[in-house]
């Protein structure tokens, strides 16, 4: 399959890239790893007049802690996230999620920024970043602004990103002591999007009860679903079977998946419920609880 013709630009800096986007407006699209965009162009589900390739701009690939934040460059390859010792040691929820995206060959090209900015509700990183309270740093013609991930998604492939803005960095507040998270995903095979998937991040109090929780679901609606009711319910509670059951029920009730070849609405909601419960137990265990 061959995409319809387009022009290709390879700016040397982020500002040059933004200027190209501003010049070409709706006719332009950012190319990062290309693992979602190129298949769309090849299948001719979409067309674009100008591709602005940010994949070779220096300084967009990094994973570091600085000023109380974990900072991940938008151009960071998913394979780099997967191999990062910092991520494995301190952000297991991200490691859980990244190894479940597509397959290892795709992750060698696909980027963290692409997975977040694309706006596909099947993408795995958005739910994890919501539970971590992450913020996106975006660069546009007027400079930088920040958008909380929880307010970024507007609909299927629709985000708060303007056509002339580029996702430059993801910032995650370094979790306090006694924090832990987990991401669980049910999929039919390697490379598939989620039938259902749940991200849970918790911080425990000194007695082992839940001080703060974040819960979000992947592929359970037009956007990643933040289960704020369930998170609120968990605050101040000690984890037991009854609490897990109620939090899972509340979270799954927020999901509104569509029936497709991955299953019926009822099946997907039930799987979301089960996965939230399991992810919650795992998150609490990782945070040092039982």
């Amino acid at each position: 399959m061959i995409p319809a013709p387009f022009d290709y630009h390879r700016p040397g800096t982020l500002d040059e890239a933004v200027a190209l986007l501003a010049r070409y407006g709706d006719g332009a699209k950012v190319l990062s790893g290309g693992m979602s965009l190129l298949p769309i162009l090849k299948l001719r589900l979409g067309a674009v007049a100008h591709l602005v390739d940010i994949g070779r701009i220096p300084g967009l690939e990094y994973i570091k802690e600085e000023g109380g934040m974990l900072k991940i460059g938008g151009g960071t390859r998913q394979a780099a996230l997967e191999r990062s010792e910092l991520i494995a040691a301190k952000y297991p929820i991200l490691r859980d999620a990244v190894v479940l995206i597509a397959d290892p060959l795709v992750r060698n090209r696909a980027t963290v920024g692409g997975n977040l900015a694309n706006g596909d509700p099947g993408n795995d990183l958005p739910a994890t970043m919501i539970t971590l309270g992450a913020t996106l740093v975006v660069r546009g013609p007027k400079g930088e602004r920040t958008i909380p991930v929880s307010q970024f998604y507007k609909g299927i492939y629709s985000t708060a990103l303007a056509p002339d803005e580029i996702l430059a960095e993801v910032r995650v507040p370094i979790p306090p002591p006694r924090s832990g998270g987990a991401y669980l995903k049910l999929k039919r095979k390697v490379g598939d999007f989620a039938v259902a998937a749940a991200a849970v991040q918790v911080t425990l109090d000194a007695k082992g009860g839940i001080e703060r929780a974040g819960i979000a679901l992947t592929n359970a609606g037009a956007t990643p679903i933040e289960a704020a009711d369930a998170a609120k319910y968990l605050a101040g509670k000690a984890l037991d079977d009854k609490v897990v059951a109620e939090a899972s029920r509340l979270a799954a009730a927020k999901s509104s998946p569509s029936a497709d070849r991955r299953g019926s609405v009822e099946y997907k909601q039930e799987m979301a419920r089960v996965l939230v419960g399991r992810a919650l137990r795992k998150a609490v265990a990782r945070a040092g609880g039982r």
């Binding site: 013709p5 290709y8 394979a79």
Partner: protein, 156 residues
């Protein structure tokens, strides 16, 4: 239509070409360079038959533009054999019968070579994870895993 001048090194040989923006890397490799060992399977970045090394990393060349590879080093299955001697991975696939129809084999071997360059002693689980983006519809993977294990031993 936009054309771009690109320079790539493929299996150690430098090539310069003028390509359309939309030309896919796999088509460049097969049609411009006539290196037809790299196969096109699903054409939708699922099957991995088109796997080549781009600056040392295995990637699906059906989902990379040729122009994105400008200035990069590529390695294809034709680059595995050195001075008439098969690469240990190629030998492993032969010795352990790691193929039946052979269609996935070039991609499967390129992924295996990259794995062994990163990890000299992969466990069976690590091998299976590494090749999870390469589909084989014939073998059931058992002999492919044995082929990679054979090559790992040979390379150690």
């Amino acid at each position: 239509m936009a054309k771009h001048r690109i320079n790539v090194t493929v299996n150690g040989t430098a090539h310069a070409a003028e390509v359309e923006s939309r030309l896919l890397l796999v088509h460049f490799i097969r049609e411009n360079l006539r290196l037809t060992g790299t196969h096109i399977g699903c054409d939708t970045s699922h099957c991995g038959a088109c796997t080549v090394h781009l600056d040392g990393e295995p990637v699906k060349s059906c989902t990379v533009l040729a122009v994105q590879a400008d200035g990069c080093k590529l390695r294809t299955v034709e680059g595995l054999e050195q001075a008439g001697k098969l690469h240990p991975v190629q030998e492993g696939f032969t010795e352990k019968h790691g193929l039946q129809c052979g269609y996935c084999t070039p991609g499967m071997m390129m992924t295996s070579v990259a794995l062994l360059e990163r990890n000299k002693s992969p466990t069976e689980q690590e091998i299976r994870e590494a090749i999870s983006g390469n589909l084989c519809r014939c073998t059931g993977y058992v002999n492919i895993v044995k082929a990679v294990q054979y090559a790992a031993e040979k390379l150690r």
